[in-house]
């Protein structure tokens, strides 16, 4: 199936091509396309040429199909299906294979450092790509869970900007938790 081509221009003036169906994964692009104000090239002053191909890669995978990314975000196949009378076992199997394949793809797709994560999250937010925003936000949350403030700062390359007094109070709180005493 052929599709209309859309051209996107990054903040550093590089142009990228994307199918219209793929571009519709982005609410922002979809509105521009549907608004009919398409003038050959869509400028994206907030997305650099480093990150735009990554965004396009996601859109290609999810283009025109917002539903599938939603299912992944919810952790798999919709359970309510099982109680429908015209439930099709074969269809369900195919769906499961598709979901598993998508999960694997997302895992590989999301394998990058915090610098890319940062840019990708901002791009997903700017372009209103719900599935991609969910993925990036979840990855950031997973880099926080179960870690101490120091480890989190290291993960995100953040410098503490607290006053020494504030620092001390926080260290006290952490120590309190870690205080397991000499039980042996």
């Amino acid at each position: 199936m052929s599709s209309t081509k859309i051209f996107l221009k990054s903040s550093d003036d590089k142009t990228f091509e994307i199918d219209e169906t793929a571009a519709r994964a982005s609410e922002t692009l979809k509105n521009i396309i549907d608004g009919g104000c398409l003038d050959g090239v869509i400028p994206l002053p907030n997305v650099s040429s480093n990150i735009l191909p990554k965004v396009i890669e996601y859109c290609k995978k999810h283009g025109g199909d917002n539903g599938s990314s939603k299912k992944i975000a919810n952790g798999g196949v919709d359970k309510d299906k099982e109680i429908l009378p015209d439930y099709d076992e074969e269809e369900d199997k195919r769906e499961k294979v598709r979901v598993d394949e998508l999960k694997k793809w997302e895992e590989e797709y999301m394998d990058f450092d915090q610098q890319v994560l940062y840019d990708l999250m901002l791009a997903a937010n700017y372009l209103h790509i719900k599935g991609l925003l969910d993925l990036t936000v979840e990855k950031a949350a997973s880099m926080i869970r179960g870690r101490t403030p120091d480890q989190i700062r290291e993960n995100f390359n953040i410098n503490s900007d607290f006053t020494p007094e504030e620092e001390e109070e926080m260290i006290l709180i952490e120590d309190e938790w870690d205080d397991e005493w000499a039980f042996d």
Binding site: Q114, D119, V137, P149, N157, W177, D184
Partner: protein
């Protein structure tokens, strides 16, 4: 370079929404812009908390299992004026009863007789000698799912708290009130294989035990307060601290608690007019532990109607009744009783007693119970509800105060008599 500290608020909010309360507290300690995204009450010192062991208490199955926790508990900070109930995933408490909470540790007991210390935030656990390691006539081994084993889990230990062997020692010790004979029993975590019951205690039922200024103190049903002596040379015994207050009132429950360095005794008075004895089979119509669908009117077995507070006068060695605790708030229940200054924790009300339901005898095997929670204003003698829950929702198992009080060891100067 990516600067995460200036990530748009909306995105920080999306991230923080995906974090548990424990991770949220750590999130708030990363940098000031992240901190500004988290609720204010998470920023200061972190007590007191109320742990609600079962947030889905309405299912009939849960009702029958009675007093054990879910794997997800509710947790409310009383420094939070909104009293938001957060969910805390804590599989370590699932199917266990919380029989104590002090110094940042919960004491949990299982029907298979196992007893553990659990830190709910770090989820560290420390094994204690089991119920079967009490000097007693318990059948060994206890079978899980056995009704009697469940009875022992719910009934054998009234309350257990954590302290130290002495003010000079870092050796931790757990002191439990054993229901069987209402005596104190103790063990040293990681050291003892058995519990030791305090010998020579013929002073009646222990209602409460606290760790105060380097010693354990207990109050008896008679109103006598004792200190546990001789822990350092392994011959623990009770030494009388003070006789009962000179008053005619007869409380249902008694507590001891430290407040601003002073020792207080609290009398708790219950209206037991609605109490139905579960062993009373004469009138089955009054039996509330039935297998209905929960649509019958609530019959609550008891409620707190009044409190009296006495301060220990060290010089005179007697108790002085007081109705003015200044800015202090007391926290009573299955926890090691504690107090705090409400000028440091503005979410709480001064001159007040925050209480949860530890009158287990009244609601054991009842469908409804553990509902007797509230805030007693010592000045105008009124009681306000602690948290608002729907009337049809069960309060079982009882909610428990939890503190990560850094000052819980108190002063190191020892009371001498």
């Amino acid at each position: 370079m990516a600067d995460w500290s200036v990530l748009p608020e909306l995105l920080l909010e999306l991230i923080s929404e995906r974090l548990s309360i424990v991770d949220l507290i750590r999130f708030s300690c990363v940098c000031s812009s992240w901190r500004s995204m988290t609720p204010q009450f998470l920023h200061g010192k972190l007590l007191p908390w109320l742990i609600i062991p079962c947030t889905t208490g309405s299912s009939p199955r849960k009702r029958r299992s009675g007093i054990v926790c879910d794997k997800i508990v509710g947790i409310v900070s009383f420094s939070d004026p909104n009293r938001k109930v957060y969910e805390l995933e804590l599989p370590e408490v699932a199917d266990r009863r919380i029989c104590g909470s002090s110094a940042g540790w919960l004491v949990t007991v299982h029907a298979n007789s196992e007893i553990r210390l659990l830190h709910p935030f770090t989820r560290a656990q420390i094994q204690l000698p089991p119920l079967t390691a009490f000097p007693s006539r318990l059948p060994v081994p206890l079978q899980q799912g056995d009704g009697f084993a469940g009875h022992l889990r719910d009934y054998y230990i009234h309350k257990a708290i954590v302290g130290f062997c002495s003010s000079e020692s870092d050796e931790a010790m757990v002191m439990a009130i054993r229901k069987e004979d209402d005596r104190l029993a103790l063990c040293r975590p990681g050291k003892d294989l058995r519990w030791t019951v305090l010998e020579g205690d013929s002073h009646g039922r222990s209602h409460d035990v606290i760790f105060y200024r380097g010693h354990f103190y207990t109050v008896k049903g008679s109103g006598l307060v004792f200190m546990v002596s001789g822990l350092e040379n392994a011959s623990p015994h009770l030494t009388l601290v003070c006789r009962r207050p000179n008053t005619l009132s007869s409380p249902k429950k008694l507590y001891v608690v430290e407040s601003s360095g002073e020792l207080l005794m609290v009398y708790r008075f219950l209206d037991s007019g609605h109490y139905i004895d579960y062993e009373d089979d004469d009138d089955n119509n009054l039996e509330v532990d039935s297998d209905d669908d929960g649509t019958e009117p609530l019959r609550l077995p008891h409620r707190s109607i009044n409190f009296e507070v006495f301060k220990l006068d060290l010089g005179e060695r007697n108790w002085v009744k007081t109705n003015n605790l200044g800015d202090r708030a007391l926290f009573l229940g299955y926890n090691g009783s504690f107090s705090l200054s409400t000028s440091e924790f503005p979410g709480c009300k001064g001159n007040s007693i925050y209480f949860t339901d530890d009158y287990f005898e009244a609601y054991y095997r009842q469908k409804h119970g553990a509902h007797d929670m509230g805030v007693f204003d010592l000045g105008n003698e009124t009681i306000e509800p602690l948290i608002h829950r729907s009337e049809t929702q069960s309060f079982m198992p009882p909610s428990v105060w939890f503190s990560t009080n850094p000052w819980w060891r108190g002063g190191l100067d020892v009371l001498t008599f």
